[in-house]
Symmetry: D3
Subunit: 150 residues, 6 copies
C-alpha cells in the first residue's frame, strides 16, 4: 500500500459535498442500543409527544456520527488522514426527525504545519444539512494529516 | 409525568462517575455499519497493523457516543435536560483498543441563566477514562436544562 | 470497586417504577435475528393479518427481555444482584403492538436468608404495563443478592 | 393457508432435540443494546474478572430467548401454536460463557383441553444444554395450541 | 452427530416451498450497514422518489441473502449440504418494496455424481415470490452434497 | 440532482480495485440474524470443528453481499447504475475465515446497447480476493446503466 493522498491535496478553501442518507427509526433504535442512550425524547413516544418537538427525534450525537461517516463514504479524503484529533464548536441548530435526509457540506478552514515534516493539522468545517437545505449541525473536525516528507 | 429534576440540582462543581463498559469488536463493526465509517484504521486488519497503532482501534466518535450513553445510563441527570446544544473542545487524547473498559468522570463547569426563567444553559466536562485511569477523550457537553419557573 | 448496595436495601414491599420505552418494528426484527425466532405471527404481515391479532405483534419473550433491561437501566438495584436464579409464574396477559410504550412496576415480594451470611434470595414481581396502564406481562424475578457480611 | 399441525400432534411424553448454536460476544453485546441490560457482569471485563465467574458471561434471559428461537428454528411445532401464555419454574442452573454451544431438549409435559374445542393448553419442558451436556437453564413453556375442531 | 440426510434424498424434480417473511425498513438499513451498500436508491428517500421506483426499494442482494436463509430456516435440506459452490443465472425480475412478503419455491433441477462416491453436485432453482405471487428473483443454487458412501 | 456518470464512462476492459475489509465474527452473527441462515457450519463451533474446514467459516452469500458493498463504497461507479439485473457464473472458490481481509478487483467485461438510447447493459466481473491474494469468490454482476441520451 502506497500513500495516495496528503493533507496538501486539501488546501484552505477546498470544499465538497457528500452523498445523502435518510435517517430512520432503525437508525435511532440501533443507536440507542449501541451507545446506551435511551433518553425518552428519542425512545419514548408518549414522552416525546409532550415536548416542544411533539415526536421522537434523532439523537444529536447520531447526526454527528453519521456526518463523519458520510465524509468517509464520500471517499474524498482517501487515506490522507492519520488520526482524529477532536472537534471544536459543535452546535446542534435544529432537530432531525425520522424521514429527514441529510448530507454534509465540508470546507477546509485551516491547515497548519507541525514540528514534523510528514504531518500537518487540519480543521474541516462540516455543515450537516437536511432536505430543506437547513443546517442542522455544524462543527469543526480536526485531523492529523499525512504530508509528503520532502 | 411531573418534571423531577432541574438544572439547579447540578451546581457548578458537581461531579459524578458513570458505570463502565468494555469496548469490543462488535461495537466497532456495528458502529461502522450504523454511521457508514469504514475507515481502514478501524475495519482493515492488514492496514491497521502497518500504522503507528499496530492494530484496529475504535472510532473516536464511537467513544464520544458511548460517553454520552454512559451518562444517560447512569440516570444521574434524570429528566433535567431539555435539549443538547453542542460540544466544545473535544480532544481525542489516546486510542481505545478492543478490550479496553471505559467510564466517564463528569464535572459541571458552567450554569448560566437565559432570558427565559424556565431554562438555563449548562456545560458539563466529560473525561472518558480507561481501565488504566488514562483520560482518552475529553469534551464539554452543552445542554439546555429545565429550571423551576418561580 | 466497593460494594454499594445490598439485598437488605430492598425490603419486602419496596416498590419502584422504571422508565418507559416504545416498542418498534426495529426491536421485533432485531429480536428475531438475535434469537432465531421468525414465527410468522411476528415476521409475516400476510399471516398475522389473518390471526386474531390482525397485525404483527411483538414476541412475548422480547417483552420479558426488555422488562429486565428497563429495571437494569433504572439503576435502582445498583450492584446488589449477584446472579439471576430464574423466574416464576410468567404470564403473558395481552399483546404488545408496534408503537406501544411499556414500563415496569416492581415490588419486592420475598427476601430470604440463605446458609451463607453474605447472600440472600429475593423475588421481585415485575408488572410490565403499557401506555393505557394495562398489565401485559407479569412474572416473579428471582435473584441471589449480596448481603453485608457481619 | 391451511392449518398444518395441531396440539394433538404433540402428546404428553413427545420429545425432540433442536439444532445447536454457539453463543458469542456479538450475541451478548447485541442483546445488551436491544434489551437495555448493560449489567457489568455481562459488559464490563474489569468487573467480571472480580466475580465468582472470572469473566463476562451471557445474560440469562438471552439464553431463554435463544432457547425459544432454537425451538422455532427446529420447525418441529410448525404452526400449531396460537399464542404464548407464559413460563413456569424457570431456573438458571449454570453460567453460559462466550464460545459455549447450546441446544434444547424439549418434552411435552401436559396437554389440557379448554372450554373451546379448537384450542388446548400445553406445557413443554425446555432443557437448555451446553456442549458438555450440562443443563444450564430449564423452564416450562406454556402455549395455547390450535386443535382440530370436530 | 450422525449424518441424517443425503443428496439422494433430493432427486431431480423434488420441490418445496419455504416459510415467508415481510421485508421491512429495518432489514434494508441493517443490510446497508452490514454490507456497506448505501446506494441512494435504497437509503435516500429524496433520491428514490425521483427514480422509476418512486420510493426506496430493497437491495437485490438482500433478497438473495434472505432467500438462502428462508431455505435454511425451512429445515428441508437438513445437514445434506457440504458446501456452497456458487450460483448460476441469477435474475432480478421485479423490485421488492418495504412491506412486501416473500417466500421461496425450490425445485431440484440437477443432481450429478462426482469422482468421489461420498459427494454429489446439485443445482436447486430458487424462485423468490412475493405476496401477489409475482416471481421477483430467480437463480440456480449449486451445492456439494453429502452422499452415503456404499 | 444532475446525472454525473454514465455507462459510457466504463468501457470494456476498464478495471479498478476496491478498499478492503476484515471479516469478523460479528459480521457472521449479524448476517445469520438478518438473513435467517443459521447453518451449523457458520454458527455451531462444535459442528464446524468436525468438518473439513475445522472452524466456523463465513457464509458464502455474505462474501457476495460485502463484495457488492465494497464496490458501492469505492464510489467508482457513482450514480451510473440504474438497476441490478442479476449475476452470472458465481463460483465460491475458497472459504473465508474470521480475520481474513477481502477486497474486490473489478473488470468491465461487456457493455451492450439496448433498444432505448438512454440505457445500456453492462457485465462487470468481480474477483473477491483475500490478504494472501487468493481469489475466494468470482461472479459477473449485471447492471442496467444510465446513458447520455443524444
Amino acid at each position: 500500500m502506497t500513500q495516495q493522498k496528503y493533507g496538501s491535496d486539501f488546501p484552505v478553501g477546498f470544499t465538497f459535498r457528500t452523498p445523502a442518507i435518510t435517517v430512520t427509526e432503525t437508525h435511532i433504535v440501533n443507536w440507542a442500543g449501541l451507545t446506551m442512550d435511551f433518553y425518552p425524547l428519542h425512545m419514548n413516544q408518549e414522552y416525546a409527544e409532550k415536548t416542544v418537538f411533539k415526536e421522537r427525534i434523532a439523537h444529536g450525537p447520531l447526526i454527528f456520527g453519521m456526518a463523519v461517516g458520510l465524509v468517509a463514504m464520500s471517499g474524498m479524503a482517501g487515506d490522507a488522514a492519520m488520526a482524529w484529533l477532536g472537534t471544536d464548536d459543535m452546535k446542534m441548530l435544529a432537530p432531525v426527525k425520522m424521514g429527514d435526509t441529510i448530507h454534509v457540506f465540508v470546507e477546509v478552514i485551516s491547515a497548519d504545519k507541525t514540528s514534523k515534516a510528514d504531518r500537518s493539522v487540519h480543521a474541516w468545517r462540516y455543515k450537516v444539512t437536511n432536505q430543506r437545505e437547513e443546517v442542522v449541525l455544524v462543527f469543526d473536525f480536526k485531523l492529523m494529516m499525512h504530508e509528503k516528507a520532502v
